[in-house]
């Protein structure tokens, strides 16, 4: 009862207005006083009815239930391995399962789906399905880190018990097409790169063969001169094919983060040991600065060896004039899952790299100096490999260099907590 009085008090100005209008009708409009008072009473009574109830009563059949997650829906969706998002006819997210949260972490219940997934192809498919009530599909790519491709099916569904004909929800199921797309891409890239980069050494080789069979058939000194060059070219082609294959392999699984913890110290030691002969040959001393505790990062051991091999080998080859290479491991606070990251820097004291080249070094086949790169047997793919491997590991490469003073290549990897 007191609630009704409260509501009347809330509407006191409206009541005064109604009273005034009623009086006016009685005085000027010739309404009988009895009818006027009855009308006034009916309006006051209507005002005591709680407002929320009148609203929900009107909307119950149409909008309201669709916005509220129907309890079983979420648990069914969570049980599915594929990513699923349920939306209502206004494209507002009703439920998101765990797999879908991985694809679109920004999706929020009660917010429009476009705030979390704004790919035009997907939104167009949703619009079509909502308009026609027919299932539809779309493909889109998502690029946070390594690019991923998805196929999405939009299907209307009647999930609310109250209404029966028109769909109350729309279900979006996502299928990961990344592997399939990457294989396709790898084939195309491999053919393009291989045909482009192998053409030069092949042309040189066939030129030498022609000469040796023709004009220089009996020319012993020419043969002595040509054969080592031909061998160098074939070795270069072999290395190129090796690197292209590794690059393709890494690109294939770049979107799958490795999950085994790897102790980094033995990895670095192994790399240094294997490069010791090369360093001796060039007269370079390799120094190692290590922290006392073991440092573990989630990773693929073979790939990490590849990263450090490339960096140290580059330092020894291109920085040989500096006579020493310093490798340093240290921990830093970063954005790893446990807040920390490990930084491994490889520093040489060679001629350094001009600033305009620095941002471009990780592009495949980018060379600061084509002649020098050929002379030391570079394929132009080393740092591209490093970048892709680090991408997969959630790490990054930064490069600093001063002309005449040397270069520092620093790898940052998210650290895993050491086991106690």
């Amino acid at each position: 009862m007191s609630a009704a009085i409260n509501r009347l008090l809330e509407h006191r100005w409206a009541i005064v207005a109604v009273a005034l209008v009623s009086c006016a009708f009685i005085l000027v409009g010739g309404l009988s006083p009895l009818l006027g008072i009855i009308g006034f009473a009916v309006i006051c009574a209507a005002m005591t009815v709680p407002r929320q109830q009148t609203l929900t009563a009107g909307l119950a059949a149409s909008q309201q239930p669709a916005r509220e997650p129907w309890p079983p829906l979420q648990s069914i969706m969570d049980a599915l391995p594929d990513a699923v998002v349920a939306i209502d006819p206004a494209s507002v997210v009703v439920a998101v399962n765990a797999a879908a949260r991985k694809i679109a972490p920004a999706l929020r219940q009660g917010e429009p789906i476009s705030l979390g997934l704004r790919m035009p192809a997907l939104l167009a498919a949703v619009r079509r399905t909502v308009a026609t009530g027919k299932a539809d599909r779309a493909e889109f790519s998502e690029r946070s880190g390594a690019e991923r491709w998805y196929e999405v099916h939009v299907v209307p569904a009647v999930l609310s018990p109250s209404s029966s004909q028109s769909p109350t929800h729309f279900l979006l199921t996502f299928h990961d097409q990344t592997q399939h797309r990457r294989i396709e891409q790898m084939r195309a890239d491999f053919v393009a790169n291989a045909s482009h980069e192998l053409r030069t050494p092949l042309a040189a080789l066939s030129g030498f063969i022609d000469t040796l069979r023709g004009a220089a058939a009996n020319d012993a000194p020419a043969r002595e001169r040509f054969l080592p060059i031909m061998q160098m070219q074939t070795e270069r082609m072999a290395r190129l094919i090796d690197d292209l294959l590794s690059l393709s392999r890494i690109e294939l699984r770049e979107h799958i983060a490795p999950d085994t913890p790897v102790d980094l110290l033995p990895v670095i030691r192994e790399v240094i040991d294997s490069l010791q002969p090369l360093a001796k040959e060039r007269g370079v001393e390799v120094l190692l600065v290590l922290p006392p505790q073991p440092l573990k990062a989630r990773g693929d051991r073979d790939e990490l060896i590849r990263v450090f091999e490339n960096l140290v080998e580059n330092a020894v080859k291109y920085g040989a004039s500096g006579k020493r290479v310093e490798i340093q491991l240290e921990t830093a606070s970063g954005k790893g899952p446990n807040g920390g990251e490990v930084k491994i820097s490889v520093r040489d004291f060679g001629p350094g790299i001009a600033p305009e080249h620095l941002p471009r070094l990780t592009e495949r086949f980018y060379r600061v100096d084509v002649e020098q790169s050929r002379a030391v047997g570079g394929t132009g793919l080393g740092l591209a490999l490093v970048k892709h491997i680090l991408n997969r590991h959630g790490g990054r490469l930064s490069i600093e260099s001063t002309l005449g003073a040397g270069s520092t290549f620093t790898v940052a990897l998210p650290l895993t907590r050491p086991a106690h």
């Binding site: 705030l115 704004r118 939104l123 690029r143 305009e356 620095l358 941002p359 471009r360 980018y366």
Partner: protein, 238 residues
């Protein structure tokens, strides 16, 4: 967001934000397609990019109209006013980005017979990847009102400028090596400039996101890459 007494006002603001994000999605696609068309010399894809532009322009007009109506009808204050003004600004920035993407697509069509398989397009792809990642992060920051992420994008523009400078020098060396490269390299030079401008607009959006949330404009100089070195390289590369 605090609820307003008038529900329709909330709906209007939400609708504005939603249209901005959808427009952002369209522009992202346009840029990605334009760069793909350039790298692969795909004329059909270039046509698709050009054909998408009127849709982006229409969305911008619609957003502007809605924002003006909201200001006229609701006289928004504080954060509501900032959001309304921001939607005008962001829609403008996105529309410019769409124009730059369209210009790249037009150059793909125009360069047709002059185009040559130069490795420098890989550099353009590299720069476009950086810019697209910045745009993605700043649009996510807008959708979630995430100031930290917006600031990260604002500071990250340096790298894009550095790649642009490097590309500029590399393109000049190609032109000096062989005059037949000049037509195509000039197109690429403008494409690089377009991509760099898209990056600048991404930082403008980052500033706007900061303004929505914090209520004050972002002060101070943005960290810059080296000032564009316009001197020609000393000698062509061998």
């Amino acid at each position: 967001m605090n609820e307003h007494t008038i529900k329709a006002f909330d709906t209007e603001l939400k609708q504005l934000a939603r249209e901005i994000v959808e427009m952002g999605g369209l522009v992202e696609q346009q840029i990605a397609d334009a760069v793909n068309a350039l790298v692969k010399q795909d004329m059909d894809l270039a046509q698709v990019v050009i054909a998408a532009d009127p849709q982006v322009d229409a969305l911008q007009r619609e957003i502007e109209e809605k924002a003006v109506l909201t200001i006229a009808r609701r006289q928004p204050m504080a954060v509501d006013l900032r959001e309304t003004i921001a939607s005008l600004r962001i829609a403008g920035a996105l529309e410019r980005m769409g124009d730059y993407a369209k210009n790249i697509a037009k150059r793909v069509l125009a360069s047709g017979t002059d185009s040559r398989p130069l490795p420098v397009v890989r550099g353009l792809r590299h720069m476009a990847d950086l810019v697209l990642s910045a745009l993605k992060r700043v649009l996510d920051a807008y959708a979630q009102r995430d100031v930290t992420q917006a600031l990260a994008v604002w500071r990250g523009d340096e790298e894009i400028d550095a790649v642009n400078n490097s590309l500029f020098r590399e393109l000049l060396t190609y032109m000096m090596e062989d005059p037949r490269n000049i037509t195509f390299c000039t197109h690429l030079l403008f494409c690089a400039k377009n991509i760099e401008r898209i990056g600048d607009h991404a930082t403008n959006i980052a500033e706007t996101v900061y303004y929505i949330v914090q209520g004050v404009p972002l002060e101070g100089e943005r960290p810059k890459g080296d000032a564009l070195d316009l001197s020609a390289p000393v000698q062509p590369r061998g």
